[in-house]
Assembly symmetry: C2
Homo-oligomer: 260 residues x 2
């Protein structure tokens, strides 16, 4: 079997020498957002079912499968990425655990009419459609980054339809959308329970927001300790190094840092 198409390459999934991932600079390559969402998410370990929306090349299910044995579904609307995600599942021999579905998240509930997921994860497009300085990229990246095929409301609505009452929805997004997020989530009975802010450096404004909702949850929000990506000198912080590469440290995996 030929694993790779066009400019694709196979990387290790960070420090994980067992899992590998097919990526492409022009189509989809995972970023720190995906790593941090996987790290932030509480998940069922032995029983239950997880669904990942906007799965891209399937990076979130691949990360979560390191910590959990439960069945996972990844949903991707772009045919080219769906195809990459499927190959990633096969490449890692995870066909029994992870199923990739080629579908629009706005209608994906129809495929799971009687299923209620324990956890929904999503690293959705961040930028409002038409944000000018970011539109000058190719179609695949544009659709993955901008709210063209789906927006925050679609993501929260779909999540709410898919998750069971008391189940969790974990997202990564931009901090400037926090207000929108709180207003929209209330419409779909998703109660924000836990947030964590990510700052490029300790002295900079936050540029990433991790947030967990509970469907039909009680009000009451916890703000987790902050995460800083870099030290003032530009090195990864100790914490970020641990999140990226585990306890082993970076020595043999330095090359991966360029992708993030």
């Amino acid at each position: 079997m030929t694993w790779l198409k066009d400019d694709e390459r196979i990387d290790y999934l960070l420090a994980d020498q067992k899992r590998r991932i097919i990526q492409s600079p022009s189509v989809f390559a995972f970023s720190a957002d995906a790593v941090l969402l996987a790290h932030f998410t509480y998940l069922p370990i032995k029983k239950g079912k997880i669904i990942d929306l906007c799965t891209g090349n399937g990076v979130i299910p691949l990360f979560l499968s390191k910590r959990s044995q439960v069945e996972m579904v990844g949903v991707e609307i772009q045919e080219r990425l769906f195809d990459m995600a499927k190959r990633n599942v096969s490449l890692n021999g995870l066909e029994e655990q992870i199923k990739i579905v080629h579908e629009d998240l706005k209608v994906v509930k129809k495929q799971f009419p009687h299923e209620n997921f324990d956890l929904v994860t999503c690293n959705p497009p961040y930028f409002k459609e038409g944000t000018p300085d970011k539109m000058n990229i190719n179609e695949h990246l544009r659709l993955a980054r901008h709210e063209i095929l789906c927006d925050l409301e679609d993501v929260l609505k779909a999540s709410s339809q898919l998750v069971k009452s008391g189940g969790k929805v974990s997202l990564v997004h931009r901090p400037e959308r926090l207000s929108d997020m709180f207003h929209l989530s209330a419409q779909f009975k998703l109660e924000p329970k836990r947030i964590q802010l990510v700052y490029p450096k300790q002295t900079k404004e936050a540029n990433m927001l991790l947030i967990e909702f509970v469907k039909d949850g009680q009000s009451g929000l916890k703000v987790e300790p902050p995460i800083f990506i870099h030290e003032e000198n530009g090195d990864y912080t100790e914490e970020m190094t641990r999140i990226l590469y585990g306890e082993e440290g970076t020595s043999t995996h330095g090359a991966h840092s360029e992708k993030l």
Copy 2:
């Protein structure tokens, strides 16, 4: 003139050797919340008007008067605290700049029917009425800390009535109320523009939220760099020391730290 009543004492306003403040352990003594709110707040310096709701002993206007020449009003519903705040203004010779009003914030707009403030500040009661483990304190402290005489909705409603379009509202509150805050502020046309989270230590959950709204503002939220109060060993962090005592350092003011 006799400045002090009952168990009151006069403290310096932290490192400020010019400003002094009357406090009482059983009635009202300012805390780190007030210091951090004053530090967080953007304020008009030469022109404009500021109103501080739930002013207590007037600590916020006293702090702000170090950075601004504009007229300020402090509003306090408790007669005993109103009286203390007035004496604090006199003690510092600030009667020309700061006016203290004995009023319920829910109706205070009637006293300023034609005035639109540039800035509203408020360090309101944090705890929902009836929170059991915190109710076992005297009446003055209970009213200052619990949502008995006013709740978050009252505070945001009053702030919105008092502030001009485009003007700012700065609050300190508990992070767990962030969701309530976003829902209520939308009702009163207050757009969250800037937040800052305060953590007791870098590895702990946030326990304080600073938030600035703009009346009729555009959406778009900035999350400022976090503030940590203590190092892991319990010392104040460098930043907190600077906020509390200015550039001079703590050497001669260490005694004040016990209050915070």
